[in-house]
C-alpha cells in the first residue's frame, strides 16, 4: 500500500467523513451529533478543551469504541460495515504511551505491519522510518528499555508502518522536548507533502496554527467552529497592544477595562479593531501626560480564538 496522491475521478474527495456521531455514557452525552468532513491531503487540526470529546471522536474513528449513533468513513469505507478496508487506510497514534514489553522495536514494527497485511516489502520502509525518527540505534532494543520520547516515536512509526493515506495523531507531542517535536513535525510535513492526510489534536496551538490548513474546535461534544486557519484568524476582530509605561505611571481609567494581562511591568490591552484604534490609546496616554517606554503589538493567534470560543485555555490541565 502506498501513500495517496491526487484524488482520482472515482475516489471519494473526503479522507474522513464523520456523519451525525453521538456518544452517550448513561446520562452523559460526550458527543452531540458531530458531522464534518476532512478532505484528502489536508493537514487538519482537531482542537478543544479537556473533555470536549476529541479523544472520544478519535476512538470512534479508529474502532476503539462504539458510536451510539452516526457513521464514520475513511476514504469512502465505513468503519463498521467495511472495517478491514477502513482500518488499512488509517493510521492512528494513540495519546497514551502504550507498548508491548515482550518485543524489540524492529520486531514490534514488523508485527504491526503484518496485522495490516503487509509483509517483507515494508521492511525497507520500517528502516527508513527508524532512521527519520532517530531510532536506528534502538531497533534491536526491548520496548521496555526506551525512554518516554523514544516510545512516542515508536508509536508514530507503528501508526505509519502500513503507509496509511490518512493519519490521526492524538497529542503526539505531549511531554516531548522541543527538538523531538521538530523531528516529528518535519517527518509528518514530509508525509503530508507526499499526499498523506494528517489529522492532529494538540494542546500546543502554535503547532496547529503553523501546520494545519483547517481547524475544527470541539466544545462540550459539539463542533464550535470549523474553518480554514487563516480565515479563522482573520475574522477575529481584535488585536493586542502591549505597552510599558514610563516610571510608575498608571493607565487612565478609560483604558483599564481593556487590560487582559500584566507581564513584567507591561500591560496588554485587547483592542477591538473598529471601536478601539491603537491611535486612540496613544492619544489617551498623551492627554494624561503618561510617557511610553516600550510598545509591542501582536495579531490574535489560535489560542486567543480558542479561549474566546470555549472559555478555556488550551494549555491548562491534562489532556482528554
Amino acid at each position: 500500500m502506498s501513500s495517496t496522491s491526487a484524488p482520482t475521478a472515482d475516489a471519494p474527495a473526503s479522507a474522513l467523513a464523520i456523519c451525525g456521531i453521538r456518544k452517550r455514557y448513561g446520562q452523559l452525552e460526550a458527543l452531540r451529533g458531530i458531522s464534518f468532513e476532512i478532505r484528502r491531503g489536508e493537514f487538519f487540526a482537531l482542537l478543544g478543551p479537556n473533555g470536549a470529546g476529541k479523544s472520544t471522536l478519535i476512538s470512534i474513528i479508529s474502532g476503539l469504541i462504539h458510536a451510539s449513533e452516526g457513521t464514520v468513513s475513511v476514504l469512502g469505507h465505513d468503519t463498521v460495515r467495511d472495517f478491514r478496508a477502513a482500518r488499512r487506510l488509517l493510521g492512528v497514534v494513540p495519546q497514551e504511551l502504550v507498548f508491548d514489553p515482550f518485543f524489540k522495536v524492529r520486531e514490534m514494527l514488523r508485527l504491526q505491519a503484518g496485522y495490516y497485511g503487509c509483509g517483507r516489502e515494508t521492511w525497507p520502509w520500517i528502516d527508513e522510518m527508524l532512521e527519520r525518527l532517530e531510532l536506528s540505534d534502538k531497533a534491536n532494543v526491548s520496548m521496555r528499555a526506551l525512554s518516554g520520547g523514544m516510545k512516542r516515536r515508536v508509536l508514530i512509526a507503528q501508526a505509519l508502518v502500513h503507509r496509511p493515506p490518512v493519519v490521526i495523531l492524538d497529542e503526539p507531542t505531549a511531554g516531548v522536548d522541543v527538538e523531538l517535536r521538530r523531528t516529528i513535525w518535519s517527518f509528518m510535513s514530509d508525509l503530508h507533502r507526499k499526499g498523506t492526510t494528517v489529522v492532529l489534536t494538540t494542546h500546543y496551538l502554535e503547532e496547529a496554527q503553523e501546520l494545519c490548513s483547517r481547524v475544527a474546535i470541539l466544545d462540550r461534544g459539539s463542533v464550535a467552529v470549523i474553518e480554514p486557519t487563516r480565515q479563522l484568524l482573520a475574522r477575529h476582530p481584535y488585536r493586542f497592544l502591549r505597552i510599558k509605561l514610563v516610571g510608575d505611571a498608571r493607565l487612565p481609567d478609560a483604558l483599564q477595562s481593556l487590560v487582559t494581562a500584566e507581564v513584567d511591568g507591561a500591560v496588554e490591552l485587547k483592542l477591538e479593531t473598529r471601536r478601539n484604534p491603537i491611535g486612540g490609546v496613544f492619544d489617551a496616554l498623551r492627554n494624561a501626560g503618561i510617557g511610553i517606554e516600550d510598545v509591542h503589538t501582536r495579531e490574535p493567534d489560535l489560542e486567543d480564538i480558542f479561549i474566546e470560543l470555549t472559555g478555556h485555555s488550551a494549555k491548562v490541565g491534562a489532556v482528554t
Binding site: 455514557y25 479508529s62 474502532g63 476503539l64 469504541i65 462504539h66 472495517f83 478491514r84 478496508a85 482500518r87 488499512r88 488509517l90 492512528v92 494513540p94 497514551e96 502504550v98 507498548f99 508491548d100 514489553p101 515482550f102 518485543f103 520486531e107 508485527l111 504491526q112 503484518g114 496485522y115 495490516y116 497485511g117 503487509c118 509483509g119 507503528q158
Partner: protein, 255 residues
C-alpha cells in the same frame, strides 16, 4: 497469502513469540511441576491395587497429569496474554488493526494449542524413564487433546476479556480452574469416591477431558469415550459461542 490471511498469521506469530520468549515459565515450569507430582504420587501409591486391571498406577497417573497441565496452561496462555495487553494498554494495536473476531479467536486458540502441545510432548518425554505409555486409540487421544486444550483456551479468552485486573484472573484460576482440574480424577478413579462425589464428578467437564484422554492411552476409562467426546465437544462449542459473541459485540473491549 491475502492481506487478511497475513494479518491472522501475524497475530498467531505474535502470540507464539510471546510465550516462546519466556519458555522456561510457559513450558519448562509446568513440566517440572508434573514430574514432581509423578515422583511423589508414584512412590506413595506404590504396591497398591491397580486402578484398572493390568494398569500400573504410574501408567494411570501420567495421562491425568498431562491433561491437568494442558488444562491449566491452555487457560493461562490466553487469559494472561489478553489481560496483560488490556492492562498495559497495548491491546489497542490489535483493536485498531483490520483483524476480525474470528482472527482473534483463531490466533489466540491456536497459539495456546501450540503451547499445550509442547507441554504435553515434553511431559511424555520426561516421563519415559519411568513409564512407557501405550497408545490404545490415537484418534480419540488427539480429539480429546484438541477439544480439552481448545475449551480451556477459549475459557481463558473469556476470562481475559472479562478481567479488569490480574486479581480477576487469579480468582478464576484459584477458585475454578485449579480445584476443578484437581477434583477430576487425575490421581484416582472416580469409582473410588463416595456416591455423592462420584455423581458430582460427572458434572465436572474436566473429568471427561481427563477420562477421555486417559482412554486414548490405556483403553480404560471411568465412562465410555463417546460421553467424554460429547461432553468435551459440547463444552468447547458453548464456550466458543460465548467467546465469539463477546468478540463480535466488543464486550468489555469496546466501550
Amino acid at each position: 497469502m491475502t492481506p487478511d490471511q497475513t494479518g491472522f498469521v501475524t497475530l498467531l506469530k505474535k502470540e507464539v513469540m510471546r510465550f516462546w520468549s519466556v519458555l522456561g515459565q510457559t513450558v519448562t515450569a509446568p513440566v517440572v511441576t508434573a514430574l514432581l507430582y509423578l515422583l511423589v504420587f508414584a512412590q506413595a501409591m506404590k504396591g497398591r491395587a491397580p486402578v484398572y486391571p493390568g494398569v500400573d498406577y504410574t501408567e494411570f497417573l501420567v495421562p491425568g497429569l498431562i491433561m491437568m497441565a494442558v488444562i491449566q496452561n491452555a487457560f493461562a496462555n490466553t487469559a494472561s496474554s489478553l489481560t496483560q495487553s488490556k492492562i498495559m494498554g497495548n491491546l489497542v494495536f490489535l483493536q485498531m488493526a483490520p483483524l476480525g473476531p474470528l482472527d482473534w479467536f483463531g490466533a489466540y486458540i491456536l497459539a495456546a494449542l501450540l503451547r499445550c502441545t509442547l507441554v504435553a510432548v515434553a511431559m511424555l518425554l520426561v516421563t519415559m524413564p519411568f513409564v512407557q505409555m501405550p497408545m490404545h486409540a490415537p484418534l480419540a487421544l488427539l480429539s480429546m487433546f484438541l477439544l480439552s486444550a481448545g475449551s480451556l483456551a477459549v475459557l481463558g479468552m473469556i476470562a481475559g476479556i472479562v478481567a479488569e485486573k490480574f486479581d480477576h484472573i487469579a480468582t478464576f484460576t484459584n477458585f475454578f480452574i485449579t480445584p476443578l482440574s484437581f477434583l477430576s480424577g487425575v490421581f484416582y478413579s472416580v469409582h473410588a469416591l463416595p456416591p455423592i462425589w462420584f455423581k458430582a464428578s460427572h458434572f465436572n467437564p474436566f473429568f471427561y477431558m481427563i477420562d477421555g484422554f486417559r482412554y486414548g492411552f490405556l483403553g480404560h476409562a471411568d465412562v465410555p469415550i463417546v460421553y467424554s467426546l460429547l461432553w468435551s465437544f459440547g463444552f468447547f462449542a458453548l464456550a466458543s459461542a460465548i467467546c465469539l459473541r463477546m468478540l463480535v459485540t466488543g464486550y468489555k473491549l469496546k466501550r
